[in-house]
Symmetry: C2
Subunit: 192 residues, 2 copies
DNA sequence: CGCGTGATTGAAACCCTTCAAGTTTAGTGG
DNA sequence: CCACTAAACTTGAAGGGTTTCAATCACGCG
């Protein structure tokens, strides 16, 4: 849970005493490879903080096609915020790609942190804002660039992830077929 | 400013007295057709609420290509939230497409509303969350569907906007060329 | 009226997909 | 630890959707 504590410290000031109290409340869970943390249709009760491992969130469209929404490696937050905040049915699946250690940010923990430090709430807004910016970049990328450029941008954003995640999932994230990604990689390997 | 007051009432309870106080603080401004509200590189000091008219936000990518991020008609909020919240240089332009009446949600107003009613802050989070969902839908749409389907979805989301906005801007929003949109419309007109 | 901007249409080129086959890799059980 | 199998990845050829470039048409505004 050390990564999560550090993540909190980056947002708000905490005394040693407060940290101990938080640690008592933390729920840490390990998920096996391919295990589901959340399924489409469920109501999400937690936000997930990745201590170790890799998660992905994905959805299935009207044509039955799978689309990766997000990868989450160490120190990333993964959730279906809409389901979590509004208690609606989740539109996403969340799954462990490797064996992963995850801190469950329950509503109880959230309430506790909010009462502990009034700055927590506003730091949450900034995190959400950051997420918005990230999504906006992705939209602009989808509108502007070819598959090759999008892939090069992707490996800059998620360095070293190619070794940990199947290629077809990366293709899904980029919005291209696995065959296309294979050709893109071949092209990059030969021409740069 | 009536639309904005109603918008606030939908979020938080307000007494007549409070409404009068808010009205005193409201800054309403009219922008001419094509006038800029915010330019890329500026630091945004306001969020814009559209009382009447149409705004658009757009950005220009590395290749010099323009991309429409969002249209805002009556009762929509338009802003570069990242610039507004973090006081960074704006990545977007915001421009009036028609002559438009706009409520400027200044930081002063925001602070005032937050102190007036503690529920205001959490309703802001829900609005932001709604924005995230909207962006997610757009990403899924870009990944999943052909230009025709995306256009049909677009006119459902923004009914009657086609008469108020040049077609090439809609093409830009959809991520296709004006020529392609023209062909898509021709196709829909003949085949449905 | 004429100019400029926006919309349409056609033909060729391009990027990516689809389908199909073959190769490699990785996980599983003996 | 090896052998087997399924999944993942690669490669090729054909096809589809979209872009690009170029020409033409329509319209509003000075």
């Amino acid at each position: 849970m050390q990564n999560y504590i550090q993540h909190l410290k980056n947002q708000i000031d905490l005394t040693e005493e407060q940290i101990e109290k938080i640690k008592e409340k933390l729920v840490v869970k390990t998920f096996q490879r391919n295990e589901m943390l959340l399924s489409m249709g469920d109501v999400s009760s937690d936000v997930y903080f990745v201590e170790k491992g890799v998660l992905r969130s994905y959805t299935i469209d009207e044509n039955g096609k799978e689309h990766v929404i997000q990868f989450g490696t160490e120190n990333w937050l993964v959730s279906d915020r809409n389901s979590y905040l509004c208690k609606k049915e989740a539109k996403f699946y969340i799954q462990a790609i490797e064996e992963s250690e995850v801190v469950l940010i329950t509503e109880e923990l959230n309430t506790f942190l909010q009462e502990l430090n009034p700055n927590y709430a506003s730091s949450q807004v900034l995190l959400l804002q950051n997420h918005v910016r990230h999504m906006q970049d992705r939209i602009t990328s989808l509108l502007s660039y070819t598959a090759k450029k999008r892939y090069l941008d992707f490996i800059k954003l998620y360095p070293n992830i190619t070794a940990r995640v199947p290629q077809w999932m990366i293709a899904s994230y980029l919005g291209i077929t696995p065959e296309s990604l294979s050709r893109v990689r071949k092209d990059i390997a030969s021409n740069g």
